[in-house]
Amino acid sequence: MKSVWKVALFLGLASPLIAAEKPDVQTIVSRANVVAYYQGKDGKATVRMTITSKQGQKRLREFNILRKDVTDGGDQKYFVYFQKPPDVRKMVYLVHKHTDKAKDDDRWLYMPGLDLVRRIAASDKRTSFVGSDFLYEDISGRSLDDDTHELIRTTDKLFVVKNVPKQPDSVEFGYYNVSIDRKTYVPVKMEFYDKKGKPYKTIESAKIETIQGFPTVVKSVVSNLQTGSKTEMEFSKAKYDINLKDSIFTERYLRRPPREAIR
């Protein structure tokens, strides 16, 4: 038995094995965070969002997204190149995300018609992302330090973690539960409850694929029970570890996007 452990340690398998047995809640949320937002050291994907209102009216958003991690689980850079709808086509949205609480994210928007590079002053991350039911924070990840985490249930397949905001006044929800796959650490469902404890929004991972060894949510659906609207987000052409240069996340490429973003 002892020698088996030695072999496992040597192969570097020990930590996941041990973690799988009895991870603490902090380990669970940290790993889920990395799986959800930090796969590989960088990556790209084409994202298609279909927003369906309560009345059934559909709106479409399509953009290519490039991501590069500065540190795993920490700062990141995002480059978003819009393709649809036509009035935002070729707009570029650049984010330097900072996990340090004292520092707001740096955000830029390039408007091609005016050849204008604007700094975005908006700092509220709990506003809609491009008019969808996803919030900025759902896309770029909510800082783990913003909530207290409690493992409320463990089933055969899932860890269920309850997250309570440390500053309740800064957010519109009361708390949210995240169901995390025990094997892959992919968050498969998020349920948001309002201040009175009534569920009002869910985000579900509808389809998960393994791409280059990384489990990837390729389709997720957010349903807003209050407004009756729904947004489906589909990932395609996802690729990891494509060696994006740091310079892509600068003004040079804002004004003229790299091929990786256009294609």
């Binding site: 018609g113 003004e251 040079r252």
Partner: protein
């Protein structure tokens, strides 16, 4: 004469309509046969727009109709292995002037010949600087007429025929924009907007259209603008220089029969970055009026110092506010006053404040915004309210106004009082 003008206007309006119909067909084909369309090397987009507006006050020098046009924009873009090619042009029929126009806004190639160098040559829109609808070091052409009559803000920038070389280094980056033949602003000439005419010492418009004597020779009457910039921890520092001409008329010929564009050199700097919960910016520029360095010539603008400080922050849910303070200081003011024969004088210091409020509503298909210029020294105001609603991914409706008022008829915005107008527009994009 009139009937032929109307027929011409009808023709220029109906032709784009036919084009847009066929374009709409293409756009819908794109949806059904996307794989086929995305194989093509050319991306085709654009919009069709109708826009109309009226003056709210009687202006005896201009028509009541401030804007009435049908516009079709076609945007063709192709990226090849060696570079990008872009054409973007507007065809529009204008019922105010009863003419049809074609305005080529982009016709350029983009190359990346070296790892540290970009080159864009041809007709293009160029912008830099930190101000929000206030420009100090951005000396690329503006279209003030479009801005004041209620066209989309995009049209405030007029295209340049230029070559822009950008060099990127570890220490700093450098942009150089060379315009071989001077591109002036599409300035207020009296054709569409009435203005203060200092020679007549009264308001004027179509009865006194400004004629210009402009630097017009290729390569001799050129402009060159440079920007050296660096991002230091996301604080954007830039230095600028410009050698060319006053972009809107800045002088007159000795007989005062024509307006001129005297020589102008500008040196400036700017800094922009996060301050507290928002974004702050400062910008400065020294305008050296090279043809009148002493300030003694009454017919040519004096040199100026221009300063700007601004701050923008989110102040509520989906509500942002931006404030700016701008100061224009005329140099050699005493000589300017002595050189003037009569008429109202400009102040030595022109103070200007701006306030922008933008509120997004209905997730966020409805955008309400108000941009206000207020000058305490000129005692005049210019307000730009606008409501823009995205009825669908392709269809946008908007309405807005350009409201001018002031205590005096000769001040920067006060002179446009009678041009106060409202407008509405409908745009189908594909």
């Amino acid at each position: 004469m009139i009937s032929s003008g109307v027929i011409r206007a009808f023709l220029v309006i109906s032709v784009p309509a036919v084009v847009v119909l066929s374009a709409t067909v293409t756009a819908s084909e794109e949806n059904t046969e996307e794989s086929f369309f995305s194989e093509l090397p050319v991306e085709m987009h654009g919009f069709y727009e109708v826009r109309g507006g009226y003056r709210l006050r009687k202006d005896k020098y201009e028509k009541d109709m401030s804007i009435m046009e049908n516009r079709f924009q076609l945007d063709l873009y192709s990226y090849l292995d060696w570079g990008d090619i872009r054409f973007k042009g507007d065809a529009y029929g204008d019922l105010v002037t009863e003419q049809g126009y074609f305005d080529m806004r982009d016709a350029n190639v983009f190359l990346r010949p070296l790892d540290y160098m970009d080159l864009k040559a041809g007709r293009q829109i160029l912008t830099w600087g930190t101000g929000d609808l206030v420009f100090i070091n951005d000396l690329f052409p503006k279209d003030w007429q479009s801005f004041f009559i209620g066209r989309d803000t995009e049209y405030l920038k007029a295209p340049s025929d230029a070559a822009k070389v950008s060099l990127f280094g570890n220490w700093a980056n450098l942009d150089i924009a060379y315009t071989p033949r001077f591109d002036h602003d599409r300035f207020i000439s009296g054709e569409r907007i009435s203005y203060w005419n200092s020679n007549l010492a009264r308001l004027a418009g179509q009865d006194a259209i400004v004629h210009t004597d402009k630097p017009n020779e290729w390569f001799r009457d050129s402009e060159i603008a440079g920007r050296l910039y660096k991002n230091i921890e996301n604080y954007e520092l830039a230095f600028y220089s410009y050698r060319g001409y006053w972009k809107s008329p800045g002088g007159q010929t000795p007989t005062r029969s024509q307006a001129t564009f005297p020589d102008l050199n500008v040196y400036g700097t700017s800094l922009r970055g996060s301050v507290g919960k928002g974004i702050g910016n400062v910008e400065f520029g020294y305008y050296e009026s090279a043809d009148d360095q002493s300030g003694r010539t009454a017919l040519i603008n004096n040199s100026e110092m221009r300063y700007l400080i601004g701050y923008a922050q989110e102040i509520g849910k989906d509500l942002t506010m931006g404030v700016q303070y701008y100061l224009e200081q005329m140099l050699d003011y005493g000589r300017y006053k002595n050189s003037l024969a009569s008429g109202p004088t400009r102040d030595e210091y022109r103070h200007l404040t701006t306030l922008r409020l933008t509120k997004l509503l209905m997730n966020p298909n409805l955008r309400c915004s108000l941009f206000t210029y207020y000058s305490p020294s000129d005692e005049d105001v210019y307000m730009r309210p606008n409501v823009n609603y995205k009825a669908s991914d392709n269809l946008t409706v908007e309405a807005g106004a350009n409201v001018f008022f002031g205590d005096n008829p000769h001040t920067f915005f006060g002179q446009f009082q009678n041009n106060t107008n409202i407008y509405t527009g409908l745009r189908y994009s594909f």
